[in-house]
């Protein structure tokens, strides 16, 4: 099919920059949205898991906490339960018509993706916190840490490590889902495809290019996240802090490196 490759070449020549800037927009919005989504998710998840001490906490504190939790619960359910494309229209035009605020499409895009991701992340973080063994919290309490310190130094670092795959999921979903933001005139990668394909009537060829670009973005993301995960897991062996060389012969490995020990045996 010579015409297929010719069409692709022509598309790239004439619309290469459009695709690239569309891809840049997509990456930027999903990156910012995922980042703030994580921040929102952590904050909501933390509030939802504050323990209530019926005896020591004042009634005022308990009532406030219950109200805040109800609001956050509603937020999570509303934004998880409606499509982002509808949320985008609702918020962008709602802000303008009801409150007279012109958000600008960039602010609107960042806002919508962040708040949407936040709703999912809130549940992810809550689940992550619940998955950490209660012994970790008790260990922290036993040396006198208060709830905030326990969360900050013990529970949340471990939670973060557990939910990295979910953060990756959300980021990849965002890369694809930002395509719906063309309803508020964001010229992302999908919008670039529509304009290029429409102008030259080369839907298949343009879709091929865009597929490759989307896949490249998501594969690179997966790879980077795996690296981060591995790095956070730490080294699988440790150095003994001793000059006693005899001690070095015992138990320095957690999971012996298979390849390495095979080499050693040869």
């Amino acid at each position: 099919m010579p015409s297929f490759f010719e069409n692709i070449a022509e598309l790239l020549q004439r619309y290469g920059m459009t695709y690239l800037s569309g891809a840049g927009t997509t990456l930027l919005i999903s990156l910012v949205g995922t980042f703030f989504g994580c921040v929102i998710g952590f904050l909501v998840g933390i509030v939802q898991t504050i323990p209530v001490d019926k005896k020591r906490d004042s009634k005022f504190k308990r009532v406030i906490l219950a109200v805040v939790r109800a609001i956050l619960r509603a937020y999570v359910e509303i934004f998880r339960g409606t499509p982002m494309i509808v949320q985008a229209v609702f918020i962008y035009y709602g802000a303008r018509i009801v409150f007279g605020i012109n958000m600008g499409m960039w602010t609107a895009a960042f806002f919508i993706v962040s708040i949407n991701t936040g709703a999912y992340m809130a549940e992810t973080v809550r689940g992550g916190i619940m998955s950490i063994d209660v012994g970790q919290t008790e260990g922290a309490k036993a040396i006198g840490m208060n709830h905030l310190q326990t969360m900050l130094y013990v529970v949340l670092p471990q939670t973060f490590r557990v939910i990295i795959p979910q953060i990756g999921n959300n980021y990849i979903i965002n890369i694809k889902d930002t395509s719906v933001l063309s309803v508020i005139s964001i010229t992302d990668l999908f919008f670039a495809h529509k304009s290029a394909a429409g102008a030259l009537y080369t839907y298949f060829e343009s879709a091929t290019i865009v597929m490759v670009i989307y896949l490249t973005m998501t594969l690179v993301t997966s790879f980077l996240l795996r690296m981060l995960e591995k790095k956070m897991g730490g080294s699988d062996h440790y150095d003994l802090a001793t000059k006693d060389t005899l001690a070095l012969t015992s138990g320095t490995y957690n999971f012996p490196d298979k390849k390495k020990s095979e080499v050693d045996h040869k």
């Binding site: 005896k55 020591r56 012994g135 970790q136 008790e138 260990g139 922290a140 309490k141 036993a142 040396i143 006198g144 840490m145 208060n146 310190q149 130094y153 013990v154 670092p157 471990q158 490590r161 730490g234 062996h237 440790y238 150095d239 003994l240 802090a241 001793t242 006693d244 001690a247 138990g251 957690n254």
Partner: protein, 246 residues
């Protein structure tokens, strides 16, 4: 005998309709090494967890150096900083190295400087023989090693009393010895200790007082020679006979 550091009056604890502790009266004096023995489910661990406020007592009072720590005005965190606890399941922080495990409480709770905390942590890690492993993460250590680090972590807070909740129950037989050796050493150094254990030989040799619990009440309380040599209560005799036969 000196002033009691811990005085427990009429302590009860229920989980729902199930009454685990029934009207416990009990005290610990400075320098005492008290072991609590008894069958599983007799309320030993719950008593220990109440003393550290990990469980909220249903009624009764716990006087620590004369003041009631179950009062509303008492902040559990600052009380716990003075009372060390060693758990059956170690509960070392999985995200930190051995050294960091022993420093974090000192720097964040006691607000010590990093240098001071590190020197102090190293002192106690050396004491339990874990100083070569300061860079290891808990997941890379054996059970006995983890428990020794947990003891060092508790000691690094300079506690006034140390609570042990079945510290050797999760360990292989050959690792029990290394942990008990550390605890023996501590007892000799004059540390006030309250130990829930199933290690009868250890209880007999090391403690200055043995408490036998059954069904949420303190059944018998006395010197180890008396409890193990000449128990008064029928229940104590039965329990010990069963244990010695095993």
């Amino acid at each position: 005998m000196s002033e009691p550091i811990l005085q427990i009056n009429h302590l009860s604890k229920s989980f729902g309709a199930h009454e685990v502790l029934k009207d416990i009266d009990f005290h610990v004096c400075n320098g005492d090494v008290t072991t609590i023995i008894g069958a599983s489910g007799s309320g030993k661990s719950t008593l220990l967890r109440c003393i550290n406020l990990l469980e909220e007592p249903t009624s009764g009072e716990i006087l620590y150096n004369g003041s009631d720590i179950t009062a509303k005005s008492v902040d559990p965190a600052s009380y716990r900083a003075k009372v060390g606890m060693v758990f059956q399941s170690f509960n070392l922080f999985n995200n930190m190295s051995v050294l960091k495990n022993c420093m974090i409480g000192q720097t964040k709770v006691l607000k010590r400087s990093k240098e001071e905390a590190e020197a102090n942590a190293m002192k106690f890690l050396k004491h339990v023989g874990m100083d070569p492993y300061i860079h290891a993460k808990p997941a890379q250590l054996s059970g006995g090693m983890k428990q020794r680090v947990a003891i060092a972590r508790a000691l690094a807070m300079d506690p006034e009393i140390l609570l042990f909740d079945e510290p050797t129950s999760a360990l292989d037989p050959q690792m029990v010895g290394e942990v008990l050796a550390v605890m023996r050493d501590l007892a000799k150094s004059g540390m006030t200790m309250l130990i829930v254990t199933h290690e009868m030989a250890f209880a007999r040799d090391v403690s200055s007082r043995v408490v036998f619990m059954k069904d949420g009440v303190i059944c018998e309380d006395g010197a180890p020679e008396q409890i193990f040599g000449n128990p008064k209560e029928e229940a104590t005799k039965e329990f010990l006979a069963r244990f010695m036969n095993n």
